[in-house]
Amino acid sequence: MKLSMMAAPHLRSEDSVRKIMLDVLIALAPAAIWAVVSFGLKALVLILVCTAGAEALDFFVMRFVRQKKNFKPDLSGSVTGLLLALNLSVAVEWWQALIGVFVAIVIAKAVFGGLGKNFFNPALVGRVFLLISFPVQMTTWLSPFDMQTTATPMAILKQGALRVFSLQEMFLGTIPGSLGEVSALLLLLGFGWLLLRKRVSPFIPIAYVGTVVIMAAIFNGVNPGFGSPLYHVFGGGLMLGALFMATDMVTSPMSIKGHVIFGVGCGAVTMIIRLFGGYPEGVSFAILVMNAFVPLIDMGTKPRIFGKPKKVKSNA
């Protein structure tokens, strides 16, 4: 009998970071499949290139650059890659997408110290980099199935109506847009999976979408040209952003109170950009801006320790 001395607790849950990442991939699968169905083979190529490329690059960096001898792929690269792909227009070329992957994995993640250490959502950093570098492909939108160049619902709002999409089209996903953002239904389905598996708290999306709805309602009341609340919820990247990008564990606050503040901030910045900014869409920028505030939000929303009096005098 060979005995080991080990620290308590001697029981551990079977949960793992890899299992969490796998659940996120599963949650994104319906939207990804819909992207291939509606935008064709090119969408499949982009999704595969981004997902596999990101995981491979993450492995390469960890194993050979940072010399982690025992590093095994943890699927976090795949999550970043898939999210990036779902944020691209089908008009983007595969090699352009790969540049985005490089920016996401190396510049936005590895440079900060790798998984868990980055301040900004890597997929969004990659996307914004591509948006600035390849503005034409990144803002060329094709309508699903017939692949005609067109404008997204959000762009229509900005440029004046060419064609207004119905709520049903936007909810189901038969509209132009980024690969993964078009179907609110499938995104909600995926998010339901994450909730079921207790992987996310619903407070960020609730606060985010809630803020958008309230702000849109107010401005729409003043001037109907600003678009209806539901148009803002389902017409652009909000669902993808609120459900899957803003909820990234690494780059969002820790407490429920923090989640609400973060969500409200994301919603407000999104609407300010959409209503008054030069871009038709503001989700990516809004989340990145709020990512920067996470340490501050965390500091201000520490939970009260059991047994501590209500008003804690800070002597910091």
Binding site: L3, A8, P9, H10, S13, E14, G116, S201, M254, I305
Partner: protein, 439 residues
Amino acid sequence: MRLPTFRGGVHPPEKKELSQDSHLSVLPLPERVYVFLANHAGVPAKPLVNIGDRVKTGQLIAEAGGFISANLHSPLTGEVKEIAKYYHPTLSKPDDAIVIEKSGKDEWELLDPAKPYDQFEPEEIVQRIKDAGIVGLGGAMFPTNVKLSPPKEKKIDLLVLNGAECEPYLTIDYRYMLERSEGLVRGILAIMRALKVNNAVIGIEDNKQKAIERMEEAVRSTPIQVKRLKTKYPQGAEKQLIFALTKRKVPSGGLPLDVGVVVDNMGTAFAVYEAVELGHPLVERGVTLTGEGIKKPINVVSRIGVMANELIEYAGGAQESVERIVFGGPMMGITVPKIDVPTVKGTSGITLLVKSDPLEDFPCIRCGKCAAVCPMNLQPFLLNLYGTNRLYDKQVENGLLDCIECGSCSYACPANIDLVKNFKLNKKVYRSLKGGAKK
């Protein structure tokens, strides 16, 4: 109806089924026992016997060495063989023990007088508990008489009995509640009398239905209440138990008596009954022998200081695949490096765990699980970050000393980070850095 409980916590596999149906048995008297002078929290006891002395069972062999200390009594009738260092299961190092070898008949030296608790004055009960060397049998081994002598300015109005037994695997309190309920109730009434309180409540997790029913029956026609609690770890932690039963919050850095409560373990209540009404000093206790690594899991009453290997033999022996021998349960228990380690007064169980697949380590991804499960509402990920950077003051500012070391954070962490282990070390480092300075 929602059962009373606390915020946070985890629900590990209960594993009670291994030993819960094994009736209390009595271990045949061992040939030798090893009685540590540090058989309680605080100052070690001072030996009163010499090598070669003949002692009777229950005879005082070492007396309390200070205010927070406890008497020791011989668990066997026989001869003092040596006073030497043996491996101590909770101090995790060799420490002084009085070794007694059995010879002749088991003759008891009882505490006098033994009579119904209500014929004692409250102070006499406290004195008897002190004489009998009773300490908290839940594991902390804090001298019970000290707990029952609160400072005058603290008004105690409630006695809480911990029947939660929230540690997975362990079933000894459960068996005592089923098989020793009368004695338990007498012990509880004696403690109530000692404390001069009119209310007592027994908290039992709802996975112990039979114990709840049995105790409800036993407390009929007494002021003692039985309350059903949600099955969740660490339901039996003092502060969480008090909160679940009374909604009172023990202040940070405070004790249960700050909210008018004294908490005792079920085993302690039984020891009090034995001391008061039977005149037995604390020389034996119930121990659960369990885990996948033991052939026949059992609940056994044995003399204090018996070697673990004798208990394990009695439980059918160990499986080949045993990897860890844990004194206590799997959440807070302590591993020992060898099989021949003696039990102490606080040994409620010995859990033999078999080899399990090692879990993979990941970096922290700020998932927040640790904070969600922390029963003290701490942020373990943050404490750990400060700890890694040796910012001990920052750790303390953020509640390091409030950590009750229950291990829920480590249990839940998907990155397999040794959070609670780090916090225990950090506390030691912080305290040693502080040195003699007042806190």
